[in-house]
């Protein structure tokens, strides 16, 4: 039996009285391009942080490539890479220094770190800016360098929190191609995003999370069943309506 890339069993997290993640039980198959969708505040970031060992769950367990993140964190973290939504990095290092630093932190050999850093800088079109401080990078460049840091140790699973938010189409294209190459080679990508078009185009599987609960899960084709993912999503999480609100004044000339 194939070990799933990620396995959630009854994972829960509560902040005060709010259930951020509520008894999530799901699997992310190895080799998949997986979308984690949900409205703002649905619990996506909380779920990803618990998956990567950055937030302790209140209950349940999460495994990455067969390793329990909270029982065997070193083994689990060796198999995952993570890019947060707004990656805060060691910004007083240059792009190259940051990637190399991350590799050395992971205990990789210096020669291997140097070789792979050069490859990733070339792949992500960062070679010309490798000597600039990360503090001076644009958001797109910062996300690219964060992805390079996350890929350097060749993880089994790459987690990305809204990787395409706020970046230009050129950087987006580079990121998409890099991630596709990663999954084509057997890696797993799990990412959260608000753009249903992007999720529909890239992901072969997904789940929709709302108020901490998984409300829909399966293959993208199976979930959409010929409809647009946007429609399915709004239906699943309950879209709001402007009916019943008196806005007759809106757009009328008042002066």
């Amino acid at each position: 039996m194939t070990v799933p890339a990620v396995l959630y069993r009854g994972l829960s997290k509560k902040f005060g009285t709010k259930m951020a993640v509520d008894n999530v039980t799901a699997e992310i198959p190895a080799g998949s391009f997986f979308g984690i969708c949900g409205p703002n505040g649905a619990g996506k970031t909380t779920l990803l942080r618990m998956t990567c060992g950055l937030l302790r769950p209140d209950a349940g367990k999460v495994e990455v490539a067969g390793n329990d993140v909270w029982v065997n964190p070193v083994a689990a973290k060796a198999r995952l890479g993570m890019v947060p939504d707004n990656p805060s990095m060691f910004t007083r290092l240059t792009g190259r220094e940051l990637i190399e630093f991350t590799g050395l932190l992971r205990g990789m050999k210096p020669e291997m770190v140097e070789e792979r850093s050069s490859n990733l800088l070339r792949l992500l079109d960062l070679e010309d800016d490798a000597g600039r401080l990360v503090a001076d990078y644009s958001l797109g460049m910062a996300k690219k360098v964060a992805i390079a840091c996350a890929l350097l140790h060749n993880p089994r699973v790459l987690f990305l929190d809204e990787p395409f938010a706020g970046i230009d189409p050129v950087a987006r294209q580079v990121l998409e191609e890099t991630l596709k190459r990663f999954t084509a080679a057997g890696g797993t990508v799990a990412f959260s995003d608000h753009s249903m078009d992007v999720v529909e185009r890239l992901c072969d599987r997904l789940f929709i999370i709302d108020e901490g609960k998984v409300v829909l899960a399966g293959t993208t084709a199976g979930i959409t069943n010929g409809r647009r993912l946007q429609e399915v999503f709004v239906e699943a999480v309950g879209g709001s309506s402007t009916e019943g609100v008196d806005i007759t004044w809106l757009g009328s000339i008042s002066d």
């Binding site: 990567c52 060992g53 950055l54 937030l55 302790r56 964190p73 070193v74 689990a76 973290k77 060796a78 995952l80 993570m82 947060p84 805060s88 990095m89 060691f90 910004t91 007083r92 290092l93 240059t94 220094e97 190399e100 630093f101 991350t102 050395l104 932190l105 992971r106 205990g107 050999k109 210096p110 000597g131 600039r132 401080l133 503090a135 001076d136 840091c149």
Partner: protein
């Protein structure tokens, strides 16, 4: 409009406190109490000086306060962003309305409270009776308005620069130099021949032509019943305020109609990577990589530079007494101990504060967190040890007596080890973020961090004492060789304490890593 801005600022402060919770409320009360106390003391001093030195004294004091208002808000630009003019620029408000509104809101702040209390003291000091108090108060109020308006003008003019990383770098280093410089100045003044009043009056005679100085002089003249000249000077002060207000309104207009400064932010140069970090990156193991990263930060991060510059100047000022005692004697190599103390204090009791939001970068890699601590300590040793050896050697050469050179170097190393050891534990227990956007991070210093730092200072001092005694006692009672043996013993004990601290702090760090992440990732309050 002014009332609206005052209410807006009060609400913003209230909501910020609600969000921040208990410690922030305590810190808020503490800051306002401190401001009140400082204002009361300055008011008392201002009153006494004015009574003794008259109009020239008041002119000098007002000029100094005016300078403080010009420099202070620039250096601490990120500290008051309660009402950002840029957030109001889409509203149909004219720059004139905005400037008067913002000016009114500026009265609601600890800086304004200090100034008002200080001015009240000067007014009372200058007025022989209650009747003369009222015209003097008018001049005092004009001075407060001058301070607030001129500070606002300067910060608005420099908004783009202060928002850029380069600008913040300049401001933070400038503030450290200024802070250190004032520490030096106060040390020298306190060592001076005595009466500062003649010097102050001399300064007052020169500064009386500047608007704040003129308002000080005018205030005293009005209090003394010299109506004609007093009112004339007050009119000059008011005209100067009008000019500042006009300038501020123009700068607000310019600010709202041009591209944000970010676009024009200069690209920083990383420079050539220094040799030691490059060599360390060839060394396998995370601790070498972390030491290399810390050394790069030391060169590139203004927070390190400001802390280093501020500490260097302040400690030099503090160490003047010790220096005077040691300089020129056979014991001068022991100045190395001060260097060791300075090196250990640079990252001090908050070693993860500079990492702030980036702390997750350690956790996600699964690196052994003890090695992170070791790497940070290694960086301090790589800077501190050559520094203390150099100071000890130069001092020995200057007095042409190298008898105590080895003992001094070893004593410095022992002190370094002990301070780093205590710093490790305190850094884990009392970490707080020092984000770049908030120059001094003072709003993020929770009460627990403050107590932890004080506790750390106390613990380091107490533990250092017996270690230092191992060198000092044999030196004073017996002689050079006995002191050397004592110093060797001190190093061994220092290293043992450091080893123990790595074990304790490492275990604490493993247990508290997520708590630290939460604390360091907390947005500025």
């Amino acid at each position: 409009m002014a009332w609206l801005y005052l209410r807006l600022k009060a609400r913003l402060i209230r909501n910020r406190l609600r969000k921040a919770g208990g410690w922030a409320t305590l810190a808020f009360i503490g800051i306002w109490s401190l401001a009140f106390g400082l204002g009361a003391i300055l008011g008392l001093l201002g009153g006494v000086v004015t009574r003794l030195a008259g109009g020239e004294g008041a002119a000098a004091l007002f000029t100094l306060a005016g300078i403080a208002w010009l420099v202070g808000p620039v250096a601490a630009a990120a500290l008051d962003e309660t009402i950002e003019p840029r957030r109001l620029e889409l509203l149909p408000i004219t720059p004139t309305q905005m400037s008067w509104g913002l000016l009114a809101a500026s009265f609601l702040g600890p800086g304004a409270l200090v100034t008002i209390l200080f001015v009240l003291g000067v007014v009372v000091g200058a007025s022989p009776d209650w009747l003369r108090l009222i015209p003097a108060l008018a001049a005092g109020l004009a001075f407060v308005v001058w301070c607030l308006a001129s500070a606002r003008l300067v910060t608005t003019l420099l908004t783009d620069l202060l928002r850029s990383r380069a600008g913040r770098d300049i401001a933070v280093v400038g503030a450290a130099v200024l802070g250190g410089g004032s520490a030096f100045a106060s040390t020298f003044l306190s060592n001076g021949s005595g009466d500062p009043l003649p010097a102050l009056a001399g300064f007052g005679r020169v500064s009386v032509y500047l608007p704040p100085g003129a308002l000080g002089r005018g205030l005293v003249l009005l209090a003394e019943g010299e109506w004609l000249i007093g009112l004339g000077i007050l009119a000059y002060g008011l005209a100067a305020i009008a000019v500042v207000m006009l300038g501020w309104q123009r700068s607000l207009l310019r600010l709202s109609t041009r591209a944000p400064g970010r676009a024009a932010e200069p690209v920083a140069k990383a420079g050539h990577s220094p040799l030691v970090p490059r060599l360390l990156s060839r060394w396998p193991g995370p601790q070498a990589a972390i030491a290399g990263k810390e050394l790069r930060y030391l060169r590139r991060d203004p927070r390190f530079r400001s802390q280093a510059v501020g500490l260097a100047v302040a400690l030099a000022a503090l160490g003047l007494g010790a220096g005077r005692m040691l300089f020129g004697t056979e014991y001068s190599p022991f100045l190395a101990v001060i260097v060791a103390w300075m090196a250990a204090s640079t990252t001090g009791f908050n070693q993860f504060g500079f990492d702030d939001h980036s702390f997750w970068g350690y956790l996600v890699t699964g690196v052994d967190l003890r090695r992170v601590l070791l790497g940070k300590n290694l960086a301090v040793v790589l800077v501190g040890l050559p520094g203390l050896i150099l100071v000890a050697a130069v001092s020995a050469v200057l007095v042409a007596d190298a008898r105590h050179l080895p003992s001094a170097v070893l004593a410095g190393a022992a002190v370094l080890a002990v301070w780093l050891a205590v710093g490790n534990v305190v850094s884990v227990l009392g970490a707080y973020p020092l984000p770049e956007s908030n120059l001094f991070g003072s709003r993020n210093v929770s009460g627990s961090a403050l107590f932890a730092s004080l506790g750390g200072l106390l613990a380091a001092g107490v533990i250092s004492l017996p270690v230092a005694a191992l060198v000092v006692v044999p030196l004073l009672i017996w002689g050079t060789w006995q002191a050397l043996v004592g110093a060797m013993l001190a190093v061994i004990i220092g290293l043992l304490i450091h080893r123990l601290s790595l074990r304790v702090a490492g275990a604490l760090l493993e247990n508290r890593a997520l708590r630290l992440l939460e604390v360091l990732d907390r947005p500025p309050v």
